[in-house]
C-alpha cells in the first residue's frame, strides 16, 4: 500500500501567501504558516569547501557511484519529540564527512545525501537531494542490448551525467532582494519569481528556522531562469485598487483592505500554479519518525513549466519542508527523451512511434540533447544524413 504522506499533487496545506515584495525584476512572495509545530526544526551547517564529493553507494573512500558538486551548506533536521528548542543549534559542529586536500583545493567527502546522525537527527544536502534524483532518472541506460547503442552506454549507462545550475550569487539582484526583504512574523517560506516566472519555492517548518536560513537562499542553486530576462529592469507593479462604491464607513474600508490582501494571495497562488496543484511523481527518501522525506518532479512535459524538488510531509499531510528548482527547457527535454526511451524499453523505433516522429529524427534529437554518446557513431551519422535529405 502506498504511503498517504507521499505527495501525489503538491498542495500548500496549512500555508498561506502574503503580498509580494519586489526588487528589480525579482518578486518575493512570503509564505506564512499559522499552526507551527515544535517537534521539527531545521538548521544550517556550513561547509565552505571548494568541491564536495558525495558517496551514493559503498564506503566513503571506496569505489562506487559519486555525486560531485559545490555544496556550501547542508541542513540538519531535528525531530526530537521533546521541546526542540533545547537542542537547537547545539550540535552544529559535529564532524561531517572527511576533508581532503587536493592541490590548492579542499575537497569534502560526504557519506550519502541523507544521513542519520543521531536518534532524532538527520543531515541532508538541500536540493542536491532532488537534483541527484533527477540525474539518476534512468541512469542505468538501456536494459536490452539493442544494436544501436554504444558499448559504453550498455556497460556504464548514462555515467557520467551532468546538469548545470546557477548559484544565487550569480545574480547580483538576488542579494539586494534578500537584504531588503521584510520578513513577516509568521513567515516560514518564500516563493521566488523572476520576471513573474516561478523560479523556486522554499518552505521550512518553523519561522525562526526561516529567519536563520533566509540569507542561505543566496548560496543555493537555481535554474537557468535566474539569469534570464536580464533586460527587464522591473517586475511590473500590480496595482490593485479598492472599490469606492462599496465603501460607506470605516469598517467597509477595513473590509476592503482585507479583501485586497486576499486578492494578492489568490493572485500569487495563481502565479505559482505551475508548481502547486499539478500532478507530481514522488519517491520516498527517508522516514524520519512521523515525517516523510521525499523527492519529486512534475510531469516533465516540454511544453509545461517543470520543477523538481524535495519535501518533508508531516503525519497529517501538512507540508513541513519544501525546496524546488525550476528546470530549464533543455533540462526538461533531456528528461523527457530519457523517459520516452525508457517507457519503450529503449527500442528506438517504438519510442519514435510513440513520439510521432521518425527514428532518424529521434536520434538527432538525442544527440542535440547531449546524449549522442549513448548511440554508436555510424548509427548517428546515418540518422543525420537521413534527416538532412528529408529537408
Amino acid at each position: 500500500m502506498k504511503d498517504a504522506r507521499l505527495i501525489q499533487k503538491l498542495e500548500p496545506r496549512g500555508l498561506r501567501l502574503a503580498p509580494s515584495q519586489v526588487w528589480g525584476r525579482l518578486r518575493l512572495v512570503p509564505v506564512l504558516r499559522d499552526v507551527v509545530r515544535d517537534d521539527l526544526r531545521l538548521s544550517r551547517r556550513g561547509y565552505g569547501d571548494a568541491v564536495s564529493v558525495v558517496t551514493l553507494e559503498g564506503e566513503l573512500k571506496g569505489r562506487g557511484l559519486r555525486y560531485v558538486t559545490y555544496i556550501p551548506h547542508g541542513l540538519v533536521v531535528d525531530w526530537s519529540p521533546r521541546q526542540a528548542d533545547a537542542t537547537y543549534g547545539t550540535r552544529l559542529h559535529v564532524q561531517d564527512g572527511k576533508k581532503v586536500k587536493a592541490g590548492p583545493l579542499a575537497v569534502r567527502l560526504l557519506h550519502r545525501m541523507v544521513r542519520r546522525e543521531d536518534k532524532h537527527q538527520l543531515r541532508m544536502l538541500p536540493l542536491h537531494l532532488a537534483m541527484e534524483g533527477f540525474l539518476a532518472l534512468h541512469f542505468g541506460g538501456p536494459e536490452l542490448a539493442w544494436a544501436e547503442y554504444s558499448r559504453e552506454a550498455l556497460s556504464r549507462g548514462l555515467s557520467p551525467r551532468s546538469e548545470q545550475a546557477y548559484p544565487g550569487w550569480s545574480e547580483p539582484l538576488l542579494d539586494g532582494a534578500l537584504r531588503t526583504f521584510e520578513l513577516h512574523e509568521r513567515q516560514v517560506g518564500l516563493l521566488l519569481f523572476n520576471a513573474d516566472e516561478l523560479l523556486s519555492a522554499f518552505v521550512v517548518p518553523h519561522p525562526e528556522d526561516y529567519r536563520a536560513l533566509h540569507r542561505t537562499l543566496l548560496e543555493d542553486f537555481y535554474g537557468e531562469l535566474l539569469l534570464q530576462f536580464g533586460f527587464l529592469s522591473e517586475a511590473p507593479a500590480l496595482g490593485l485598487t479598492l472599490d469606492d462604491a462599496r465603501v460607506r464607513s470605516l469598517e467597509d474600508l477595513g473590509t476592503e483592505v482585507s479583501r485586497m490582501r486576499a486578492d494578492w494571495a489568490d493572485f500569487h497562488a495563481f502565479m505559482a500554479g505551475g508548481l502547486f496543484g499539478v500532478d507530481v511523481t514522488s519517491r520516498e527518501v527517508y522516514e524520519a519518525g512521523p515525517f516523510l522525506l521525499q523527492r519529486f518532479h512534475t510531469r516533465l512535459v516540454p511544453s509545461e513549466e517543470n520543477h523538481l524538488g524535495e519535501a518533508i510531509v508531516g503525519p497529517e499531510g501538512t507540508l513541513e519542508y519544501l525546496k524546488t528548482l525550476r528546470l530549464s527547457a533543455a533540462q526538461t527535454r533531456r528528461a523527457y527523451l530519457l523517459q520516452q526511451l525508457a517507457e519503450a524499453d529503449w527500442a528506438l523505433d517504438e519510442a519514435a512511434e510513440v513520439m510521432r516522429t521518425t527514428r532518424a529524427d529521434l536520434l538527432v534529437r538525442l544527440e542535440n540533447a547531449g546524449f549522442g554518446y549513448l548511440v554508436k557513431p555510424h548509427v548517428l551519422e546515418e540518422a543525420r544524413r537521413a534527416v538532412g535529405k528529408s529537408r
Binding site: 503580498p19 515584495q21 513577516h184 465603501v247 474600508l253
Partner: protein, 497 residues
C-alpha cells in the same frame, strides 16, 4: 487673468521648489535602506544645480527654511561657486544668508565647507570675504587651530587670510619649531612628547596622539573625560563600556531629541527595559525642550509609526528612520491635547521598539482613523508592502467617500530620500509628503506640509520663504552679539552635530 501657459509655468515652479525643499529636509547623500550612497549623491547634486540655475532667489532663501545641515552646506558652496549676483540688494541678501548659514552650522561642517572651496577651486572675492569673516568671527581660534587644524590651514592658505598672534606660525611654520605662549598650542606641541599634556587637548586630537604614545584606552578615557563634548559622551557610551569598563557620565536630558532616540535604540532590549524610567523621562524632557523653543499645540493627534525592518536604515544611517519615529512619538505626545500612537507591529512600550517585520501601514492607519483623530501623522519611509499600495488607496477612498470635507488632516513625514524620484517617497496624492531628518524639525516640517499638498500657490510659497528669512537673520544677529560677549572657552561648550 493669466494664460494657461503662465498657470502651467507657475505650477511647474511650485512643484520644483516643493520637491527641492522636501529633498533638503531629508537627504544627506548617505546610503539608505533601499538606495545606495552614489545614487543619493547624484540625485541631490542634480537637484541643487537645477534649482540654482532656474530659481536662484528661492534657492538661497531655502537656507532659512529649516533644512538640514548637509543641504545648507551644499547651498552655501553652490552659491559661492556661482559668483555673486549683480543686483546690489540681492547681493546683500545672499551675503547675509551665506554668512548666517555658515555661522549656524556645526563648526566641523562649516570648516568643511570652507575646505571644500579649495577642492572645488572656488576663489572669488566673495568666497574669500566669507571665509575671512567666518574665521574672524570665531570666538576661540587657537582651539579651532588645534581641533580643526587641517581645515583651518586649508581655509587660511586658500583665502590668503591673516591670522593673529602665533597661529600663523603654528599652522604654517610647523608646530615643532618653537614653543608657544598660547597654552593650548603649547599643549599640542608638548603632547607629541609627553603623555601628561594630552589631557589638555580636545578629545578627537588627543585620541590619535594617545594611540601613538600607547596609552591604554581605559586610562585615556578616564582622564580625558572632562574634555568630552556632549555629543562625544553620548557617542562613547557603548564603546567605552566595552573597552574601558566605565562610560563617561552623560546628561541625557541635555541631548538633542533625535540623538537621544538614536542612543536609546542602540541599547539592547534588556538594558532598555532596566533603564526604562530614566530613558523615558530623558526623552520626555528633551521633547519638552524642543517644544519650549518652537511651541505648537495640536488637538487630537494620532501617529502611525513604521517600525518595519526597513526602519533599520543603513550602515551609514543606523536606525535613523526608527529613531525619527520614536522621537516624533515623544514630540507629538508633548504637543497634543490627546494623543495615540499606532505602530506597524505593535510594541510593548515605544522605548522598546525594534525594526522588524513587514510594513503593514494600512492596519494602524485604519485604527488611527477610527479613533477619530483630527490630525494623523504617518512617519514612514514610504514603502508599504502588506498589501503594497494599500495606504495610497485607503487614503484616496477615505478622502473621496468618507471625508470630503477634510475634517481629518493627514500628513506623511518621511525621513528617507528616494534618489530616483528626487523626493521622499510618497503615498499617492491624497496625503502630502514632507521630508525630515531630525524630529526636532517636525513643527517646521508640518508647517510646510500645505505646500506639499499642492493647494497653496507659488506666491504663497515665496512669501513663506521670504517670511522666514528675516527672523532667521535676526536670530543669527542675536546669537552673534551674545557670542561676542561670552566667547566659548572650554571645549565642552562646543556644540557638535
Amino acid at each position: 487673468m493669466s494664460s494657461p501657459r503662465e498657470v502651467r509655468i507657475e505650477q511647474v515652479a511650485r512643484e520644483d521648489l516643493v520637491m527641492f525643499v522636501n529633498a533638503c529636509f531629508s537627504c544627506t547623500g548617505q546610503r539608505e535602506f533601499y538606495g545606495d550612497a552614489r545614487g543619493q549623491t547624484v540625485s541631490i547634486e542634480f537637484l541643487h544645480q537645477y534649482i540654482l540655475g532656474n530659481y536662484r532667489r528661492l534657492y538661497r532663501r531655502t537656507l532659512a527654511a529649516g533644512i538640514n545641515h548637509f543641504n545648507q552646506a551644499q547651498i552655501v558652496l553652490n552659491l559661492l561657486a556661482a559668483g555673486s549676483p549683480s543686483d546690489a540688494a540681492e547681493r546683500g541678501e545672499e551675503g547675509a544668508l551665506i554668512a548666517a548659514a555658515l555661522r549656524g552650522l556645526p563648526t566641523q561642517r562649516a570648516f568643511r565647507v570652507l575646505e571644500s572651496l579649495r577642492a572645488r577651486r572656488i576663489n572669488n572675492r566673495r568666497a574669500r570675504a566669507v571665509a575671512r569673516d567666518y574665521v574672524a568671527g570665531r570666538g576661540n581660534l587657537p582651539f579651532d587651530a588645534v581641533k580643526y587644524r587641517s581645515k583651518l590651514r586649508a581655509t587660511v592658505a586658500h583665502g590668503h587670510l591673516k591670522l593673529p598672534g602665533e597661529l600663523g606660525a603654528f599652522l604654517f611654520h610647523g608646530w615643532k619649531k618653537r614653543g608657544f605662549t598660547e597654552p593650548l598650542l603649547e599643549s599640542f606641541r608638548k603632547a607629541h612628547f609627553s603623555q601628561e599634556a594630552l589631557y589638555a587637548l580636545p578629545f578627537t586630537v588627543a585620541e590619535g596622539l594617545a594611540a601613538r604614545h600607547g596609552v591604554a584606552r581605559d586610562v585615556f578615557l578616564r582622564r580625558i573625560e572632562p574634555r568630552l563634548t556632549q555629543a562625544e559622551r553620548l557617542r562613547l557610551q557603548e564603546s567605552a563600556a566595552r573597552e574601558g569598563g566605565v562610560e563617561p557620565p552623560v546628561d541625557l536630558e541635555r541631548a538633542p531629541l533625535t540623538k537621544l532616540a538614536l542612543y536609546v535604540l542602540s541599547l539592547d532590549l534588556e538594558t532598555r527595559r532596566a533603564r526604562r524610567v530614566e530613558l523615558h523621562t530623558a526623552l520626555e524632557r528633551s521633547a519638552a525642550r524642543v517644544l519650549a523653543r518652537a511651541p505648537s499645540s495640536l488637538g487630537r493627534v494620532a501617529v502611525v509609526l513604521d517600525n518595519s525592518y526597513s526602519a533599520s536604515g543603513s550602515l551609514q544611517k543606523r536606525r535613523r528612520p526608527l529613531a525619527v519615529a520614536l522621537a516624533a512619538h515623544y514630540l507629538l505626545e508633548g504637543a497634543a491635547r490627546e494623543f495615540r500612537a499606532f505602530w506597524t507591529s505593535p510594541v510593548e512600550a515605544p522605548l522598546l521598539a525594534t525594526a522588524r517585520g513587514q510594513s503593514d501601514l494600512a492596519t494602524p492607519l485604519l485604527e488611527a482613523l477610527s479613533w477619530g483623530a483630527e490630525l494623523v501623522v504617518i512617519v514612514s519611509d514610504g514603502y508599504d508592502n502588506d498589501p503594497p499600495g494599500a495606504v495610497a488607496e485607503l487614503t484616496r477612498v477615505f478622502r473621496a467617500k468618507l471625508d470630503p470635507g477634510r475634517r481629518t488632516a493627514l500628513v506623511h513625514v518621511n525621513p528617507v530620500f528616494d534618489a530616483e524620484e528626487y523626493a521622499p517617497r510618497s503615498f499617492g496624492l491624497a496625503v502630502p509628503t514632507v521630508g525630515v531628518r531630525d524630529a526636532e524639525d517636525l513643527p517646521t516640517v508640518l508647517g510646510f506640509a500645505r505646500f506639499a499638498e499642492g493647494t497653496a500657490s507659488l506666491g504663497e510659497l515665496e512669501q513663506y520663504l521670504a517670511a522666514r528669512v528675516t527672523p532667521w537673520l535676526e536670530r543669527d544677529a542675536r546669537l552673534r552679539t551674545r557670542g561676542e560677549s561670552q566667547a566659548p572657552t572650554s571645549p565642552a561648550e562646543e556644540v557638535e552635530s
